[in-house]
């Protein structure tokens, strides 16, 4: 089982991560999540300008054996979506914290990250 956890990110119980830089949150799914899903073959496009609340479904990921909803770890407006994962969903498997990012969200409630886990808590959660 693969369960790499990256320091400095916040994590949800549904295995999403968010990296915060000023009021900008970059989101994705964790190494554990990609490993559980298996080879990812499709990601539903995230539309720029979409307003999401924390916990809203932001997209859907389909692997050869399952389909999973991805929930936004934070509230705000999508200002950029990663189009390379639409054409190459395997980036999510290969580099979940890097090339496999999903979207950048301008955060409307930065305090929400307090409800999320840090790297060491998440590491314990998915031990």
């Amino acid at each position: 089982m693969s369960n790499k956890v990256l320091e400095g990110l916040f994590y949800t119980k549904n295995d999403e991560w968010v990296k915060v830089e000023d009021d900008l949150g970059t989101i994705g799914i964790s190494d554990y999540a990609q490993d559980q899903l298996g080879d990812i073959v499709y990601v539903e496009e995230i539309k720029k300008g979409t307003i999401v609340n924390q916990g809203d479904i932001i997209t859907t990921v389909e692997s050869v054996k399952a389909v999973a909803e991805v929930y936004s770890p934070i509230s705000g407006e999508v200002i950029e979506a990663n189009h390379t994962i639409i054409d190459e969903p395997s980036h999510i498997n290969g580099d979940p914290y890097g090339k496999g990012w999903f979207a950048k969200i301008k955060m409307s409630k930065p305090e929400e990250t307090k409800e999320l886990m840090n790297a060491s808590d998440y590491g314990d959660y998915r031990k």
Partner: protein, 447 residues
């Protein structure tokens, strides 16, 4: 003759096995006040031979579509079915309505479904096709649900010339979804582009237009598609008379987004209203929102061409409550009929049949107008169904046709209760009518 196959001895045994003393006790959980205390008012049981005779007497009261040729269409059409199709359909390997999940056991069924998808894809010029939804009305409603999932918008605009039963079915399907349905007002034989423009807004998910429409009219799809797309809505074309695909411009060539089509005309008998079969076709980018099964072609480990169900992650056994596909059984035998029918006719055959439908319908209209007993309510281009106003007594016309073994055309007034349609009749003329018969009909109605 007994109709319950267990003896009273066996019944006692079963009751003993489950630990109740009598049949009454078995029913004890059903409240007294909802139990029927008297016997059903039924005639006494008949011996088998008398029962058979009895049923045959009832059957003989029915007219069939061979002894009485239908001048009515309005959603179901009698076409010629080649004997070879009927013979091939007797192959019991094809007799299943169930999903061929195990490709190693179902290559024949899967290949036949794949072939049908290919036929429909070529006819509609659409990229992807699902082969089987129960009928055109439910396929149309599924297309509407698809458009809501794709756009996340909450309004649907429906042409008044969409089949009335299809309109009802859409309403039933979307009722739990809190969707606004706007029906455009009826003007003449075509959906009004101006009315559409007034109703379209940026909360519109889709516009649903049938072509040929309920009055047989060929819609100006291209114009309506353009208006629809300018508003970021999806265009759903409904095809009720599939025979029209042999002659009219393909939806895929007009940038239609989703096609819902009834395939009853492809090799299915009328059978008193069903069963039918319907397909959904769409653009590749929308494939994941399609309901129902899709069969794909692939290679097995020896490199041989094989067929499997594909994009399975949409379906309810995998996606549970989030599934876009909740269809288990389908009309596979009718898919098979359509596949055999289209294979037998071929491209040229289907074109010739379509052309015959078009020509014969126009011939009868011309002859009826010549008689002076009929007038044209409003001119519009049509395929094999046309609306015409009768000057005389409609009841008498119906009687005369029935006496001469023709099923009369539809009085559209029951669906469009406006004064101007009081005398309007919707005729359907397919290739089954000879010129002599059409002349006979026009003579009968010109008296």
């Amino acid at each position: 003759m007994r109709y319950i196959p267990s003896t009273s001895e066996q019944q006692k045994e079963m009751l003993k096995e489950i630990g109740v003393s009598s049949f009454e006790e078995l029913l004890s959980s059903i409240p007294e006040n909802v139990r029927l205390k008297k016997k059903l008012n039924l005639p006494p049981a008949l011996p088998e031979n008398e029962l058979e005779e009895n049923i045959m007497h009832i059957v003989q009261k029915n007219a069939d579509f061979y002894s009485m040729k239908p001048l009515i269409g309005a959603g179901a059409y009698r076409h010629f079915i080649p004997e070879a199709e009927k013979a091939l359909l007797q192959r019991e390997e094809f007799w299943t309505c169930y999903t061929p999940y195990q490709p190693e056991l179902s290559q024949g069924t899967l290949q036949a479904i794949f072939e049908f998808q290919s036929h429909i894809s070529r006819l509609t010029k659409m990229e992807v096709v699902i082969p089987s939804i129960f009928d055109g009305a439910s396929a149309t409603a599924e297309a509407v649900l698809m458009s809501i999932r794709l756009t996340h918008k909450e309004k649907i605009i429906i042409s008044p010339l969409l089949h009335p039963h299809y309109r009802e079915t859409i309403k039933t399907y979307v009722e739990p979804h809190n969707i606004e349905i706007v029906e455009l007002p009826l003007q003449d034989g075509a959906t009004s582009a101006d009315m559409l423009k007034q109703s379209l807004d940026n909360n519109t998910a889709a516009i649903v237009v049938q072509s040929p429409n309920f009055l047989g009219g060929v819609e100006d799809i291209q114009e309506i598609v353009e208006i629809t797309h300018q508003n970021d809505a999806l265009f759903i074309q409904v095809i009720v008379e599939a025979m029209s695909l042999g002659l009219l411009k393909s939806p895929g060539n007009m940038n239609v987004d989703i096609v819902a089509g009834n395939t009853q005309s492809f090799g299915l008998d009328l059978s008193f209203g069903g069963p039918h079969n319907a397909f959904l076709a769409t653009k590749k980018e929308y494939i994941r929102q399609l309901p129902g099964r899709i069969v794909g072609e692939t290679k097995d480990r020896d490199g041989k061409r094989v067929f499997v169900m594909t994009l399975r992650a949409r379906e309810q056994d995998i996606r549970r409550e989030k599934a876009t596909s909740n269809i288990c059984t389908n009309h596979n035998l009718n898919v098979m009929a359509g596949n055999i029918y289209l294979s037998l006719l071929g491209t040229e055959g289907l074109y010739q049949y379509s052309l015959l439908n078009f020509k014969k319908a126009h011939y009868l209209e011309k002859e009826l107008l010549k008689s002076g007993k009929f007038t044209n309510p409003f001119p519009y281009p049509y395929f094999n169904e046309f609306l015409i106003n009768y000057q005389g007594n409609i009841e008498e016309l119906r009687k005369r046709l029935i006496e001469n073994n023709f099923i009369p055309p539809l009085s559209v007034w029951q669906f469009y209760p406006e004064e101007k349609f009081r005398q309007s009749l919707l005729f359907a003329v397919t290739e089954i009518f000879s010129r002599d018969e059409l002349n006979k009909i026009s003579n009968l109605l010109s008296q």
